[in-house]
Symmetry: C2
Subunit: 347 residues, 2 copies
Amino acid sequence: MAAPTLKDVALRAGVSVRTVSNVVNDYVYVADDTRARVQAAIDELGYRPNLLARNLKLGRTKMLALVVPELDVPYFAELARLIIHEARTAGYTVLIDQTDGDERRERELVTEDARGVNFDGVIASPLSLTEEALEGRRASAPVVLLGERLFAAGVDHVAIDNVRAAREATEYLFSLGRRRIAAIGVQHESTGTAKLRTIGFRGAFAAAGAVVDEDLLVEVGHYHREDGAAAMARLLDLPEPPDAVFCFSDLLALGAQRVALARGLSVPEDLAVIGFDDIEDGRYATPTLTTISPDKAVIARSAVRQLIARIDAADEAAEPAQSVQIEAPYRLVVRESTQGRISTGGS
Amino acid sequence: MAAPTLKDVALRAGVSVRTVSNVVNDYVYVADDTRARVQAAIDELGYRPNLLARNLKLGRTKMLALVVPELDVPYFAELARLIIHEARTAGYTVLIDQTDGDERRERELVTEDARGVNFDGVIASPLSLTEEALEGRRASAPVVLLGERLFAAGVDHVAIDNVRAAREATEYLFSLGRRRIAAIGVQHESTGTAKLRTIGFRGAFAAAGAVVDEDLLVEVGHYHREDGAAAMARLLDLPEPPDAVFCFSDLLALGAQRVALARGLSVPEDLAVIGFDDIEDGRYATPTLTTISPDKAVIARSAVRQLIARIDAADEAAEPAQSVQIEAPYRLVVRESTQGRISTGGS
């Protein structure tokens, strides 16, 4: 006769497999009476929670993979911290794979079972992953994607409204009386972040009845400080330089601001600067950086909870539900780089 | 009869198990004639390279774990990128575990086999791991530790000479004519980084025949921007504030510099600031940050190569060699926060 399984215990105790698992692993809070009932079922059936055997059987490891392009981009590092915290609270360990946006690496973890590691689920922020690869995925572990809804495929997403956020950032610069507003971060090949933020930027111009000066839209290869610095140098060499710049990331903005200051310009008097991401770096820069602040805590919590819900549903052999698109909030955070020095005391 | 193993193939081909593994996995360069010889042995023996079976048998996954306290501390993020790159070149995938310096999490990955994951080796930068835990480790995977040689135990380390580096940073401030030199980053409980850098700081005073003003040594809980900011605020509230500050990390320095600038001080005229780590952030700050720059590329390369040498030695059942202590170089990088604006063009 086969040894009793987790499922047998769950049936006997009248609880879900997840609840039995929680008791066995002692990971999360389980009500005392439920725990007692599960323990009684375990004793009656003679169930032996052999972690390794159970893992092999259920393919459950309580490990999640977080797939991000770049950890030295603080937005991802800050998000990773929040995701790790949320997952740990729910009894999961997160291991991080940095892909550099390499399509093969992204595909490996998101669409195939990683070699030697069984993750219960994957949270991924892909840069290069194609819709085809995603639709043809073989991996059994559920996936939640961060960032824009790039794919029609039935995959859960968590994102902010990038078009609206970019439009608000640009409208705010118009509201300051700026008229030669530049954008750093355009990527003509992009179908994701860059494209959506460019649409938002143009939308603000349309709403203001203004015409975009295409010379003020600067394409970049990456969203790093050095790309922002190079873009700003180009803009300042124009016959008519901008009086404001919307950078599609805080790193771009910090690079741009550095070049403006190094050339002797005053920020924001000569040039207002606004970024995107609200990384800590921008809160300690001089001047401090105005930015669009996505609610990273909500993004992390939504992604982890949605993923665990999928894992639980798979454990309980429930019908897979329709994919969900979760929209996280954001807000405009005004600091010195657009408003000037507010007081002498603070950051 | 048992199925032929990797070892059988290696014996037949007259090569190491590692070489057969390299051929089978197609990961790294193998000379054409060696590859042909291995392939011939595989064909003769009818060896079938079943990845999963082989992994279970040898416990080899070509996965390395990188255990770091905090990824939103850019020093670790930048180091992680370099380690991932080095490992990938050698055919290994790196997964990162962020521990927040939590002793239990560090112990789990460094001294026990992680649940559900078989790493071939571990590179760790522990904050809280005890010597006892390390000596009693059960895990079979080799470990290389980053940072100071904290332990007598037979574990490989890669580190810079923190005492000497801190002394040089402080002597440089003396050489600028500064006399009220503060230090931010002291941790009285520390046996590691903070302790060694404090020793170096005091060493420079002794060499200069100067007396340390204990009021100018500020203890911090963490090496984050906010800790540097709080420490600087305390120093500036002293009856006799410092004219220079050596911060034990760039993040501390950036927090300290922000507070000094926000209070209307000029850096470096009123206050010279020097950090430690040479993170990109400091190269784009205004003023740009003078710092001690550990050679992160050498640290990453040394750690990965040493770890792979240990893994290979284990594969080949060689006698474990004595533990090694690898010292990586560093240099003092002078920028605006101590030297003032050098030109109007650059960073």
